[in-house]
């Protein structure tokens, strides 16, 4: 990345000033995920001035874009060449940026079979708390020179630095996609999901909601056809692409805010567990994704009840959407890990200016 670019200089100056004065900065792209994580504070640092695809080599399966590039623009460029971001980052609303996508680290329906944002980050250029421009990783698939700082930025919620430019691995869009639906209760659906993934089937995504299991297969024509023939099931009575997008972007009725009918105390929890975890019993409504590894709950159970249910299954719970987040968004970390977090924060951002408290209070 050109370190002389005026837009970058301006951001670096803003960081240097904040660092000197020890004042907080709220790093912000499109603001589409402002609801996620703990509350933001500080002066806004808008990354949208760093905009544009820097390079795209379809034969290399690599795209490099500045942080403020709209996700929609990047996905359109990929789609033109028959490629995609296989992890289907959720968009929630129009206007999201690449920087925000990496910083939030959220992936969509295909996550369980294709990997997460982290797995596709190849390199990053960032500003640390001293306003120094640093580049880690690169545009190649294999790289073990030094610590893998670029992947550390995935899901970091901006607490370590300002992402300026990102190189991502991309993949060809699979030739064929097909969705099957099965009428199954929760326990049977989970059982089926667990047994399916032990087979070399081109299973790409799965979802369960209101006693119906949805499976999406993607891959070579023959392989998808053979999977569909073996499994049976029924076709979707709506546009499958649109249905999966509604899951990805949380426009599906389960996720969409139902302000009129919702009890005011009802929260959206994301419970992350091993995919073989038994059904979790909480009051409210559930949506399962990722082969059973994510159980979304719309519930008014107490935070401690939800976290306990997750922990019993070897997982953790995130308070994804709620009016009141006083119970903490992310599950607390064991002490030695929290200490490493604090020391890493200090290592990147000694004055504590970047998105303070956005991940954990005091971080």
């Amino acid at each position: 990345m050109d370190n002389q670019s005026p837009a970058l200089q301006q951001l670096a100056d803003q960081v240097i000033r904040a660092n000197e004065r020890k004042t907080a900065l709220e790093i912000r792209g499109g603001g589409t995920k402002a609801f996620y994580g703990e509350a933001a504070c500080g002066q806004m640092l808008d990354t949208r001035s760093l905009c544009g695809i820097s390079s795209y080599e379809p034969t290399e399966l690599v795209i490099t874009a500045r942080a403020g590039t709209p996700l929609a623009e990047l996905e359109a460029a990929l789609s033109e060449r028959g490629q995609c971001l296989p992890f289907e980052p959720p968009r929630f609303a129009p206007g999201g940026t690449i920087g925000g996508m990496v910083a939030a680290g959220l992936a969509g329906p295909a996550r369980a079979s294709v990997g997460s944002v982290r797995d596709y980050v190849l390199g990053i250029t960032m500003l640390n708390g001293r306003g120094e421009m640093l580049t880690f990783g690169g545009q190649v698939m294999k790289n073990v020179a030094g610590y893998d700082v670029s992947r550390l930025m995935a899901g970091s919620l901006g607490v370590l630095g300002v992402i300026c430019e990102v190189s991502l691995k991309v993949l060809p869009v699979p030739p064929v996609s097909a969705t099957l639906a099965f009428d199954l209760g929760e326990a049977d659906a989970l059982k089926m999901l667990n047994s399916l993934s032990a087979n070399p089937l081109p299973l790409n995504a799965s979802a369960w909601y209101q006693d119906r299991l949805y499976l999406r297969f993607k891959g070579a024509r023959a392989a998808v056809r053979s999977a569909c023939e073996t499994l049976g099931g029924s076709q979707l009575d709506c546009d499958a692409t649109a249905w999966w997008e509604s899951v990805r972007d949380h426009h599906h009725p389960f996720f969409a805010t139902k302000s009129a009918n919702d009890a005011p105390a009802q929260c959206l929890w994301r419970v992350s567990v091993p995919d073989t975890a038994a059904p979790i019993a909480l009051p409210g409504e559930q949506f399962i994704e990722w082969g059973g590894a994510v159980r979304w709950w719309r519930t008014n159970a107490s935070a401690s009840a939800v976290r306990q249910a997750a922990a019993q299954q070897g997982g953790h719970a995130t308070l994804f959407r709620a009016a009141d987040k006083s119970a903490g968004v992310f599950s607390p970390l064991p002490n030695p890990l929290m200490q490493i977090h604090r020391q890493l924060k200090q290592a990147f951002d000694p004055a504590g200016i970047f998105n303070p408290g956005r991940m954990y209070p005091g971080l």
């Binding site: 080599e57 034969t59 290399e60 680290g105 996550r111 990997g115 797995d119 640390n128 120094e132 421009m133 640093l134 580049t135 880690f136 690169g138 545009q139 190649v140 698939m141 294999k142 790289n143 073990v144 020179a145 030094g146 610590y147 893998d148 700082v149 992947r151 550390l152 930025m153 995935a154 899901g155 970091s156 993949l171 060809p172 667990n194 993934s197 032990a198 087979n199 070399p200 070579a220 023959a222 392989a223 056809r225 053979s226 992350s272 995919d275 073989t276 070897g314 997982g315 953790h316 992310f330 030695p336 890990l337 490493i340 977090h341 020391q343 890493l344 200090q346 290592a347 991940m359 954990y360």
Partner: protein, 499 residues
Amino acid sequence: MYAAASESIEIRKQQARRAEVVAALARVLPSNAILSRSEDTTPYECDGLSAYRQTPLVVVLPENETQVADILRICHRLKVPVVARGAGTGLSGGALPHALGVTLSLAKFNRIIRIDPRSRTAVVQCGVRNLAISDAAREFGLFYAPDPSSQIACTIGGNVAENAGGVHCLKYGLTLHNVLRIRGFTAEGDLVEFGSAGLDTPGLELMSVVVGSEGMLAVITEVTVRLLPVPKQACCIMASFGDIESAGNAVSSVIAAGLLPAGLELMDKPMTAAVEDFVHAGYDLEAAAILLCESDGTREEVEEEIARMIGVLKASGATRIEVSEDEAQRLKFWSGRKNAFPASGRISPDYMCMDSTIPRKRLAEMLLAIESMQEKYQLRCVNVFHAGDGNLHPLILFDANDPDQLHRCERFGAEILETSVRLGGTVTGEHGVGVEKLNSMCVQFSPAEREQMFAIKRAFDPEGLLNPGKVLPTLHRCAEYGKMHVHRGLLPFPELPRF
């Protein structure tokens, strides 16, 4: 006289330190788990990079996590460096002992704790061999995907430390992509877990920095890996090319066609000749380069993919194409590739293996550059590449007994690495930095970037006790390297290990 006297003072200091450390360790370990006599510690003096040797102060062989925690607490209290070691097959000197440090051998952590076919995971101790995981998982129709060429011997703990790859990582990813959870200890001896049995964890993505950190951030004792269903079928194409450029370009064309081979490997003519002599796989000895291109999956998938691959390879100018007809033939195709390193050992007294990665589209350019470097340094170089990943393994052949050859070899290697960085690549794709590529880190990273990495090291290990001196070159060292490089292009005292 003066030099000899100061040397003996050094030796006495070292002996006193050894006695102190052994006494402290003896309180938590049985005596047969502590090695301190030189005949016992000498076998640990190097790893797979035997050009660098150093006897450790003490070697310890703990057999459980309590002992590991105790050892780390003692070393932390006494400020003794700790170098963790698996099978010692690493190729960059990452497990090179520290003269005043403890080498922590994890050889006894060799138990597969459980394989769970339902969740398709295996929980294994860090000293379990890579191949042993797939062997144990086979009865459930599962396997562990990353397959570094040393997989018979190398351990999963070492794989995690190096973020090991292999011939199948184009499709299946590196170690990082196949590991779910790591259990280990901090330099202070605190138990930590990175990752989880689920698909994510709260907080920062620490797993990404710990994997590939070459034993500098934590000591790993247990790893949960993801297993994959064994593909129903696998089939390999062996394609010959009349010139190295079209072989390089064929690699890009395969990827550009939207294909993602399970493996895509390239060997040049001298390499092919060397391995053919060794394994008799029936390679085309006339070809300037050979590509191995593999497809795996269901029978339908493989048929469809192989047909498309053949089309692309032919269009790219392949002069001969052979498709494996059965598993035996497929393994035969691979036997040469998997034996590239030992085969090179047969045709030259020594070889130096490089490991840089470049963008695939620059492969042909790089191969031509290496060809002209052979002229320049008057040394032969045979080439074997994980071409699909752009990961090169040029093997520079030389005789270490001839100081001038060693010297030229080092310059040859340095030029390959610098060219790789210039072409938009990296100095190490999978072997790690260790001590071998410390100087190259000066070329790839700015002082601020290196300082940021030191800061990460301090965040995990404030006292700097875990594998100190590896991976990250000091500012001073880089300044020295820059000076030598600019003014002379040569390193003085090539016989001295530089770290």
